[in-house]
């Protein structure tokens, strides 16, 4: 997760001016051109995204388990993606998983620091729906047997 702070020293007008000046050069097929990184050589390939094998075993948050049936067998595990903003992840966990803000922040920190966290557990069908709802926000949510 990331926190935006790039424009801290600029005025609104200066930020917009900088964006609009640069956006004039935006390629018309910027999203659908798979070779974009080849024409923008300033970005070197990086392996910053955590791989599954490098990730620690998820720790099931005790608070999460208290709210759901202890015998239910599925968990929703959210994996870190360095594109998603910290504040967005917190808000989505509040909305989709109905966690209080403090718990959403704690889980978001865990995802950021440890690579993943169990954000919800419960019956399979509900877990599946939660995972899809989280993915709808662009978050990397997957299901695992508890």
């Amino acid at each position: 997760m990331s926190v935006l702070c790039v424009h801290a020293a600029l005025t609104d007008a200066a930020v917009w001016a900088r964006w609009l000046l640069a956006l004039g050069q935006l390629a018309p097929t910027v999203l659908t051109d798979p070779t974009l990184d080849e024409v923008r050589p300033g970005f070197q390939p990086k392996e910053r995204r955590l791989t599954l094998s490098a990730m620690p075993t998820p720790v099931i948050n005790p608070d999460t388990r208290e709210q759901t049936d202890l015998n239910t067998p599925w968990t929703v595990v959210m994996h870190n993606d360095p594109i998603n903003l910290f504040a967005m992840v917190v808000k989505v966990l509040q909305k989709v998983c109905e966690h209080p803000k403090e718990k959403a922040e704690r889980l978001t920190n865990q995802i950021h620091n440890e690579g993943k966290a169990v954000v919800w557990d419960g019956p399979k069908e509900q877990a599946e729906m939660k995972a899809h709802q989280l993915q709808g926000w662009g978050l990397d949510a997957r299901m695992e047997k508890a």
Partner: protein
């Protein structure tokens, strides 16, 4: 610093404060997002639509048949909603949420195309006085996502 992009109104709705040029560009990008979502061979789609089930092929196949395709179409509907939104000055909370989702999806696709993280982009935007257009768009989208989730 917070840019005044989504301004809460007294009636519970929100004023969308975006220049015309950016609205046009955003609507155009959103339509490209639909192409990415529907192209199963596009690697960037894998950043948007991930396998929910990791451990069981049968569960995975069922999920793709029953849920995943439906969710993709739902996201395409969100894209259409955002394209319409770009001609509106006042939007409601549901539209703000959709705007945030689509803007974040656009960021994910750009990041995949450019093979970068938010931190990479932040560093270039901080140091380069003449940043590439794709980074400027990525940056703007990030501010739009942040502004959206803040008012939700």
């Amino acid at each position: 610093m917070k840019l005044d992009i989504i301004r809460p109104l007294d009636n519970g709705q929100f004023q969308l404060v975006l220049p015309h040029h950016v609205r046009t560009m955003f609507g155009h990008l959103a339509q490209q997002l639909k192409q990415v979502l529907r192209n199963e061979a596009d690697p960037a789609r894998g950043r948007l639509v991930r396998p929910v089930y990791q451990e069981d092929d049968n569960d995975h196949d069922d999920d793709v048949d029953l849920m995943a395709r439906m969710m993709v179409e739902e996201r395409c509907t969100d894209v259409d909603m955002v394209a319409e939104m770009m001609s509106e000055d006042v939007i409601d909370a549901e539209q703000v949420a959709v705007l945030a989702k689509v803007a974040n999806s656009l960021r994910l696709v750009l990041a995949e195309r450019l093979n970068m993280t938010t931190e990479d982009a932040t560093q270039v935007m901080r140091l380069d006085p003449d940043p590439p257009a794709e980074l400027a768009m990525f940056d703007l989208l990030g501010v739009l996502v942040a502004a959206s989730v803040e008012v939700l």
